[in-house]
């Protein structure tokens, strides 16, 4: 006699307890947001990015699976597969971004208002990680400058500092990150105002998955990936060069600029080549990640070996 075990219900289909306890609210509205907070995979919120950007590459895009399951997001663990598993604890709503410092009109923006600030564009960018792998992602968002102009930077503003959320309750793995948190990054004002610098709220036609830096992140495609800070809560205009997390933690390995540059090696590995995820061979890394035509002029007169 064959005794079959009941197949049971897969864990993924079990309603999490807090969703069950709040089911009326869950039904009342905000189902997707609540679902995300509770860690169940919600039907992703679609974004309507009608504008196709001229900045987009025609290269083959990486799969949604790869882009959302191979992440560096140390607040949710230091291995690549952890953020996809652990980032469900991130609460992305309500969410505000405070913009302050050397500006005439400091403001706190609700992320929903940010998303309605400008028509959403789809921009297919290459992203080159400092670890010598790369991906091609159809991001959704608009130029960072659109947001920054709203607060009217003063003449003293020379740099823009960014800060990620760090809430140990939502990010318990953060204490093992080995880098100081909250995560900080910075750009020179002209870099931040460059039209390629993307304020990103989505990918593949939907809102950002938590592990990709929801609800709002930067994408600075000519710089190593760690410059593209995730889950931004604060933006500050400064007169002096602001601190940047990896630069603080290992200044000889990660410069403030961190422009993609095949000629300047990371002390521990060569940056001359990269592995595009999904490919067997390696590609030659392009200076400024192939965006040199647009951005090289920002650095004329700068010694890229010294200011790496």
């Amino acid at each position: 006699m064959i005794i079959r075990r009941s197949p049971g219900i897969p864990y993924s289909q079990v309603t999490p307890k807090n969703v069950y306890l709040n089911r009326r609210r869950f039904l009342a509205g905000g189902a997707a947001a609540l679902g995300m907070a509770a860690g169940i995979a919600p039907a992703a919120v679609k974004l309507n990015a009608t504008v196709k950007s001229p900045f987009s590459t025609s290269e083959k895009q990486n799969s949604y699976q790869d882009v959302t399951h191979y992440n560096n997001f140390y607040e949710f663990g230091t291995s690549k597969d952890q953020p996809a598993k652990l980032a469900s604890t991130l609460r992305t709503s309500p969410w505000t971004i405070s913009i302050e410092g050397e500006v005439s009109k400091p403001r706190v923006f609700d992320v929903d208002a940010v998303m309605r600030m400008a028509p959403l564009e789809e921009r297919i960018y290459r992203l080159r990680c400092v670890e010598a792998w790369s991906i091609v992602v159809p991001w959704i968002g608009f130029s960072l400058s659109t947001l920054l102009k709203q607060v009217e930077p003063t003449s003293k503003a020379k740099f823009v500092a960014f800060e990620s959320l760090y809430d140990p309750k939502q990010m318990p793995a953060g204490k093992y990150a080995g880098i100081p948190l909250p995560y900080q990054e910075g750009l020179r004002l002209d870099e931040a105002m460059h039209p390629l610098a993307l304020l990103c709220v989505g990918l593949y036609g939907e809102v950002l998955p938590n592990q990709n830096g929801a609800p709002v992140r930067l994408v600075v495609p000519w710089k190593y990936g760690f410059k593209s800070i995730k889950s931004i809560v604060k933006i500050r205009f400064t007169e002096k060069q602001p601190p940047a997390t990896w630069n603080l933690s290992a200044p000889s390995e990660y410069g403030f600029y961190s422009n993609v540059n095949p000629e300047v090696d990371h002390p521990r590995w060569s940056q001359a080549k990269e592995r595009r995820l999904g490919e067997f061979g390696k590609r030659n890394t392009l200076k400024f990640n192939g965006y040199g035509d647009q951005v090289a002029s920002l650095y004329s007169g700068l010694d890229l070996r010294k200011s790496f």
Binding site: H69, K80, E131, A250, W269, S270, L277, K282
Partner: protein, 203 residues
């Protein structure tokens, strides 16, 4: 006569030791190695090299602590598995990372301390693997052979350093291996300086 001296125990240990490779091959066939399979293979083979080095080093303490002298029968095989996984690790790097551009490999070895350490650890394993046979033990004589095979300590230290220098910021795993290695080395060190713990004297 214990379970460790039975004829089948070696087959069992061999099969267990081959499992990481079989698992890796199985996941590879199912395309279940994540978004960056080559990195996955590199890390897996590297991890198992280090693990087998530490397992090999723990045989002697375990023999004494558990009073199971027969455990020594597995030591050579476990050491050779460390060498085997180390070889796979090196091949993965030289092939899938460098595509057998040996000039480039050499540049890495000279220039990048973590690769220098890893490569040194591998090179030191080669004479141990070669002289692992009974005829080499006879040829060298037990005393010289034992002296030569103390190189495994250097291999393990190089392996741990290689791992520690590779990691970007979260050093918990390399420190765990380092801690295990320190314990294993302390055990020997205690023996070499003639220090005997009361517990050991009983054994």
């Amino acid at each position: 006569m214990t379970i460790f001296s039975s004829k089948w125990s070696k087959v069992a240990v061999f099969s267990l030791s081959a499992c990481p490779l079989l698992l890796l091959a199985w996941r590879g066939l199912r395309q279940d190695l994540g978004a960056n399979p080559i990195e996955f293979i590199t890390h897996a083979t590297g991890d198992w090299t280090l693990r087998f080095l530490l397992i090999t080093l723990s045989i002697t303490p375990l023999r004494k602590l558990l009073n199971q002298p027969a455990l020594v029968r597995f030591r050579r095989m476990l050491g050779l598995f460390a060498f085997f996984y180390g070889t796979l690790h090196l091949i993965t790097y030289a092939w899938l990372d460098k595509f057998f551009d040996f000039a480039d490999v050499w540049k890495d070895i000279v220039k990048r301390p973590f690769i220098t350490a890893g490569f040194a650890g591998f090179v030191l394993m080669v004479p141990l693997a070669v002289t692992s046979t009974a005829s080499w033990i006879r040829r060298l004589g037990g005393r010289r052979w034992r002296l030569l095979h103390r190189l495994i300590y250097a291999c393990a230290v190089a392996g741990v350093v290689h791992y520690y220098w590779l990691v970007k910021s979260d050093v918990r795993m390399p420190l765990l291996y380092a801690g295990a290695l320190v314990l294993l080395l302390l055990y020997r060190f205690g023996g070499w300086v003639g220090f005997s713990y009361p517990m050991w004297r009983r054994l």
